[in-house]
C-alpha cells in the first residue's frame, strides 16, 4: 500500500518533472511513510514516483518504482491477494522473480499477457506501468474502485496521483472546478467523475488508461466490470458459496508481513470478518473498536460480546468529546476531496497506527452486496413517486421536512434522482439559497454529471444495490476509508469486495439474496454458527457516533459559522435547534473551511 504520482511532459526539462513528481510524492507522504522512490526515463520526459507503506516483503527489495527485465517499470498502490497463485503460474511459464512482492507479479503478469493480464489481478490497486520498449504508459485501477487514481491529460502531458491534493505542484492544473460545492451540498461528497479541479478526474474503476508516448494519445479501455444476474437460485447453494468465498477472501486478506488487525464496530459485517479472521490467525490477530461514554451511542456491549467469543488481542478506545474537539481541525485537513463523513475512520485508523498496526480489515461492502441499507426497502416506493407528475415533487421544496424537501430530486429521471432522494443532503432550492445561485443553474449542474445509465430494467433491490455500490460506496465510503486511513499510514482492507465475493453476490437471485425477516438474512444464515446471536439479532442503532452533540459544542465550528454567510448562519442555528442533520452541517463547515 502506497501513494503514487507521476508525470510525462513533452516540454518540461526532466529535472523540472522530477522536482514536480517529488513534490507530489511529498504531499502524499502520510500514505507512504516507509520509503520514497523515483524512476526517470530521461529520453521520454517521464517520471514515476512512489511513497511506500511496506506490508509485503518489508526489505529494500520491495523498493518502488520497481523494474522487470529492464523494460517494465511500475509505481503501485495496493495489494494483490492472489499473487502467490499468479506467481506460480508465471514461474511455470518461465518467469523469474527477484523478490517476494506482489508488485513484481504484476510486472511479470503484464510481460506475459499484456493488457489481458489486468483481469487476472484480484485485489485493490491503482498503478502506473511504463513499457519502456513500446513507450506506453498504463494507468490501471481495480474493478471495485477501492484504490483511488486521479489523472489529467492534455497535449504532450499526462499527470497522475493517488490524491487530488498531490496535483498542487502542477501549475497548469490549478483551475478549480467551480461546481464542486454544488455536488458536495447535494451528495455530501463530490461524485465521480467530478473532482475539485477542473481538469483532474478519477480513472473509472475496472479500466486502464493507455498513454502512447510516440503519438501522444490517450485511450481508456475496460478490462473488468461487475453485472447483476439471477444465476444462483437455490438458497442452500448460495449460502455454501458465500461461506466459501468469504472464508477464502478473509484468508487471503490476512496475508501480510506487517502486523494487522480487524475493525470491530459491533455490527454484523465486521463481526463476520473478525470471526473468520480469528479462525485463521488467532495468535496474532488484533481487534480494534471505538466506544463512547454516552451509552446511547456506545456499541461496547456488542463489541465485548464478540471479543469474548474471539479471544483476540483486543484494543478498545474511549473516544472523548475533548479528543474530538482537539482533532476536528486536523480531520478537515486530512480530507482530500471534500466529504461529510469519514470522521469515525479517521479516529479508528489513528488508534490502529498507535498500536503499530499497518493494515486493518473492515466490513465495508456487506451492506451494498447483501441489502443492509434502508434504500433496499424504499426504492420501490421512490420509483413509484418518480413516475408521478413532476409538479408534485416540486411542491415540497420549501418544506422543513427533509424527506419532502428532497422529493424534488425525483424530478430527475433514473437512478440519480432516486439516489439523491434517498441519500441526498440539501435540495437544489436550498443549495441555490446557500450559494447565492439560481435554482435552475443548480439543476443544470446536477443533471450534467454524473451521467448514469438507465438501470430501470433490473430488479428493484438490485437497483438499490447498484446505487449503493456504485454511488454511495464508491464515492463516499471507499474514498473516506482510503484517505482517512492513509493519513495515518494505515491500510484498510475490504474482504467483502474481493472479486470472487462480488461476482458471487451479483449473480445470486434477488429472491434468495434479500430474502428473510432480518436485514442481510442470507449472511446471518451463513455465519450464525460462528457469531453470537446478540450480534445478528439486535436492534438497529443507525449511525452510532455522538457527532451531532459534539459539533454543536465545538468552538471551532462556532467560530467558522459566525463568519459565514447569513444563510449558513441560519442553517447553523437550525442545526443547534436540532432541525438540521450534522452531516449537512459538515458540508457548510467544509465549504467555509476551504474558502479560508
Amino acid at each position: 500500500m502506497c501513494r503514487i504520482a507521476g508525470m510525462v511532459h513533452a516540454k518540461l526539462p526532466v529535472n523540472a518533472i522530477q522536482g514536480i513528481v517529488h513534490q507530489m510524492c511529498d504531499l502524499q507522504q502520510h500514505g507512504g511513510p516507509d520509503d520514497e522512490g523515483l524512476y526517470t526515463s530521461e529520453k521520454d520526459n517521464l517520471v514515476l514516483g512512489n511513497r511506500r507503506l511496506a506490508l509485503i516483503d518489508l526489505s529494500p527489495e520491495g523498493h518502488m518504482p520497481m523494474s522487470y527485465r529492464d523494460r517494465y517499470h511500475i509505481t503501485y498502490n495496493g495489494e494483490l491477494y492472489n499473487f502467490l497463485t499468479l506467481k506460480e503460474e508465471l514461474v511455470n511459464l518461465g518467469h523469474q522473480f527477484s523478490n517476494h512482492t506482489d508488485t513484481e507479479v504484476i510486472l511479470a503478469c503484464f510481460a506475459q499477457w499484456n493488457i489481458q493480464g489486468f483481469a487476472k489481478l484480484k485485489g485493490m490497486f491503482a498503478f502506473a506501468l511504463w513499457d519502456n520498449l513500446e513507450k506506453n504508459l498504463y494507468l490501471v485501477r481495480d474493478a471495485a474502485g477501492i484504490k483511488p487514481l486521479y489523472y489529467a491529460s492534455s497535449t504532450g502531458q499526462l499527470v497522475f496521483a493517488s490524491e487530488v491534493r498531490a496535483f498542487k505542484p502542477v501549475d497548469s492544473l490549478q483551475e478549480a472546478n467551480e461546481n464542486w460545492p454544488v455536488y458536495l451540498m447535494a451528495y455530501g461528497h463530490v461524485p465521480e467523475p467530478v473532482s475539485t479541479l477542473a481538469n483532474v478526474k478519477p480513472l473509472h474503476k475496472g479500466c486502464f488508461l493507455k498513454y502512447e508516448l510516440k503519438n501522444d494519445s490517450c485511450s481508456i479501455g475496460s478490462y473488468s466490470h461487475y453485472s447483476y444476474s439471477h444465476q444462483v437460485t437455490d438458497a442452500g447453494n448460495a449460502q455454501e458459496q458465500i461461506k466459501e468465498a468469504l472464508e477464502q477472501s478473509v484468508r487471503s486478506h490476512l496475508l501480510a508481513d506487517a502486523p494487522l488487525g480487524v475493525f470491530l464496530s459491533g455490527g454484523l459485517d465486521s463481526g463476520i470478518i473478525a470471526s473468520l479472521s480469528a479462525k485463521y490467525k488467532k495468535s496474532a490477530l488484533n481487534t480494534l473498536s471505538i466506544y463512547f461514554e454516552d451509552p446511547a451511542f456506545s456499541e461496547k456491549k456488542y463489541q465485548d460480546i464478540l471479543q469474548e467469543r474471539l479471544q483476540c488481542d483486543h484494543h478498545q478506545y474511549l473516544l472523548t468529546e475533548k479528543e474530538f474537539h482537539d482533532s476536528f481541525p486536523s480531520i478537515l485537513q486530512s480530507m482530500d476531496m471534500p466529504s461529510c463523513d469519514g470522521i469515525n475512520t479517521w479516529f479508528i485508523s489513528k488508534y490502529a497506527a498507535s498500536q503499530g498496526l499497518k493494515a486493518v480489515l473492515s466490513g465495508v461492502g456487506g451492506d451494498e452486496l447483501f441489502g443492509g441499507y434502508p434504500s433496499f426497502r424504499r426504492i420501490t416506493a421512490a420509483r413509484a413517486i418518480q413516475q408521478m407528475p413532476k409538479i408534485l415533487m416540486q411542491a415540497g421544496k420549501r418544506s422543513q421536512s427533509k424527506r419532502l424537501n428532497r422529493m424534488a430530486y425525483l424530478q430527475m429521471d433514473g437512478i440519480k434522482g432516486i439516489y439523491l432522494f434517498l441519500r441526498g443532503h440539501f435540495s437544489p432550492f436550498d443549495i441555490a439559497r446557500h450559494l447565492g445561485a439560481y435554482e435552475k443553474d443548480i439543476w443544470t449542474i446536477l443533471n450534467a454529471q454524473p451521467i448514469l445509465n438507465d438501470i430501470s430494467h433490473i430488479d428493484d433491490k438490485n437497483q438499490a444495490s447498484w446505487m449503493e455500490f456504485n454511488l454511495y460506496m464508491q464515492n463516499q465510503l471507499l474514498r473516506d476509508s482510503d484517505v482517512m486511513s492513509m493519513i495515518h499510514g494505515v491500510e484498510i482492507r475490504v474482504p467483502f469486495l474481493y472479486e470472487d465475493v462480488i461476482r458471487l453476490a451479483f449473480k445470486i437471485d434477488p429472491a434468495v439474496k434479500y430474502e428473510g425477516p432480518l436485514s442481510k438474512q442470507v449472511l446471518i444464515n451463513c455465519f450464525q454458527d460462528i457469531l453470537p446471536s446478540e450480534i445478528w439479532n439486535r436492534p438497529k442503532m443507525g449511525f452510532s457516533f455522538p457527532f451531532a452533540k459534539w459539533l454543536a459544542s465545538s468552538d471551532y465550528v462556532k467560530e467558522l459559522m459566525q463568519t459565514s454567510s447569513e444563510k449558513t448562519q441560519k442553517s447553523y442555528k437550525k442545526f443547534l435547534a436540532g432541525n438540521l442533520h450534522w452531516s449537512h452541517l459538515m458540508s457548510l463547515i467544509i465549504l467555509k473551511n476551504r474558502k479560508q
Binding site: 499477457w113 493488457i115 467523475p193 479500466c207 481508456i220 475496460s222 453485472s227 444476474s229 439471477h230 445509465n453
Partner: protein, 369 residues
C-alpha cells in the same frame, strides 16, 4: 455535449457468427467511449434474452436489454429510447424500419447502419431502399460492401464509410506446445503432416466458401506433397456432409480430409495452432473475420479475390488472393505457400495496424463523433 448512443442489434450473444462478433466488439467500443466521453450507451437486442449477456466480458449487462424475440416491445422501446439518443446505430439492415421511424419522429437523431455483406449485396425491396434514405451514414465492413451499396442501391459515396472488422480483444494467446500435440493426436496427424485449415459453417444452401474447390485442388497437390491434410471445421447440415463425403470419396481423399464439425470457442486457438495454412477461397465474404484471426495466430492465408476478403488480406499484402473459382489458381497458391511458407507468414505489425481492436475503436469513435 455528450453523444448518447443507442445500439440496436438482432443478436449479440445468442449466436456465434461474424455479425454477432462485430456487435460484441462494437458494443465494447461504445461502452468504453461512453466512459471516456462521459456519455450514455444502451444496447438493445431483439432476439437475445437478457440473461444471454450474463457475465460477458465486453460490457456490463446493465447497459444491455435483451428482448427475447418480443419484436413489438423491442420496436416500441427502441423508438422511445432512440428519440432521446443523439446517435442510433443499427447493426443490420433488417432494423432499418426502426431507424426510419426514429428519424421520422426525431429528425435530429443521427442514424447509422452497419453493412456487413450479402445482406446488402442483393436487391432490396422498394420499401427498404426508401428507408435506407434515413441513414446519415452507412458503415461498411469492407470496400467491396461499400462499393456494392453505391452501385446497387445508389447510396452516395459521401454517406458510405469503410470500417474493417477487427480482432476480438479477448482472443487468447497461442497455446503452449503441449496443447498442439494433443490435438494432432486427436485427429491422427503426425508431426510431418502439413495441415490446411478451413473454419466455416458448412451449409448446403450457401455453398460459396470454396472448400469444395480446395478439395479438388488437393488431388494434384497430393502427388508432390503426400503428407498434405485438410482439416475442415465448423457446424454442418446433413445434406452438406453427405455431399462432402461423396466428393471426398470421389476424389480419393478419404485419408487426407477431416471434417471436424463444430469447434467450441475455447478450442479454436489450438486448431489454428496446429494448422500450417488457412485457406478459404470464398466468393461472398463481407469481410472474413476468420482470416484476420488465422493471421493473428501466424498462419499464412489464402482467400478469394472477389469479395470483402480483399480487405482482410490488405489487398494481398498479408496473404495470397486467388480467383475463388479457379481450382488451378488455388492449387498454385497452396503449392507456393508449401514451398515458401515463411515468406507468407503475415506481418504482425501490418495486421495490428489495420485490425487491432485499439485502432478499430479509434476509427469508430471518429465515425460516430
Amino acid at each position: 455535449m455528450p453523444n448518447n448512443i443507442l445500439f440496436l442489434t438482432l443478436k449479440v450473444f445468442a449466436a456465434t457468427g461474424g455479425i454477432e462478433k462485430v456487435c460484441r466488439v462494437a458494443g465494447k467500443a461504445f461502452y468504453e467511449s461512453s466512459i471516456s466521453n462521459n456519455s450514455l450507451v444502451q444496447i438493445y437486442s431483439m432476439y437475445d434474452k437478457h440473461a444471454d449477456a450474463d457475465e460477458n466480458r465486453y460490457f456490463p449487462s446493465e447497459i444491455f436489454h435483451g428482448f427475447g424475440m418480443k419484436k413489438m416491445k423491442f420496436i416500441i422501446e427502441a423508438i422511445q429510447q432512440g428519440k432521446k439518443s443523439n446517435t442510433v446505430i443499427l447493426s443490420h439492415i433488417n432494423l432499418i424500419m426502426v431507424g426510419w421511424l426514429i428519424k421520422k419522429i426525431s429528425p435530429s437523431t443521427r442514424i447509422m447502419l452497419f453493412a456487413h455483406g450479402i445482406e446488402v449485396w442483393e436487391s432490396l425491396s422498394k420499401r427498404k431502399k426508401m428507408m435506407l434514405g434515413c441513414c446519415d451514414k452507412i458503415i461498411a465492413v469492407s470496400q467491396y460492401t461499400s462499393q456494392k451499396l453505391q452501385d446497387l442501391h445508389g447510396i452516395p459515396a459521401k454517406k458510405c464509410s469503410v470500417l474493417n472488422n477487427c480482432l476480438d480483444p479477448y482472443l487468447p494467446f497461442a497455446p503452449a506446445v503441449t496443447g498442439k500435440c494433443d490435438l494432432r493426436n486427436k485427429y491422427g496427424y503426425t508431426q510431418e503432416d502439413i495441415i490446411l485449415f478451413t473454419l466455416t459453417r458448412l451449409a448446403s444452401k450457401e455453398r460459396y466458401k470454396g472448400y469444395d474447390k480446395v478439395l479438388q485442388a488437393m488431388v494434384a497437390l497430393k502427388h508432390t506433397q503426400p503428407n498434405l491434410k485438410y482439416l475442415l471445421a465448423g457446424s454442418y447440415d446433413a445434406l452438406e456432409k453427405s455431399y462432402l463425403d461423396e466428393l471426398i470419396k470421389k476424389l480419393g481423399l478419404e485419408d487426407s480430409v477431416t471434417i471436424a464439425g463444430f469447434i467450441k470457442e475455447e478450442d479454436l486457438v489450438d486448431h489454428f495452432s496446429i494448422a500450417n495454412i488457412y485457406v478459404m477461397p470464398s466468393m461472398k465474404e463481407g469481410f472474413g473475420i476468420v482470416f484476420i484471426e488465422a493471421m493473428y495466430y501466424g498462419l499464412p492465408v489464402i482467400a478469394g479475390n472477389k469479395d470483402g476478403s480483399v480487405d482482410a488480406l490488405c489487398n494481398g499484402e498479408l496473404g495470397i488472393l486467388v480467383d475463388p473459382q479457379d481450382i488451378k489458381a488455388i492449387e498454385e497458391a497452396i503449392g507456393e505457400m508449401l514451398l515458401h511458407g515463411e515468406q507468407y507468414k503475415p506481418d504482425q505489425k501490418i495486421l495490428m495496424e489495420h485490425f487491432s481492436y485499439k485502432n478499430y475503436k479509434i476509427k469508430l469513435e471518429k465515425l460516430i463523433a
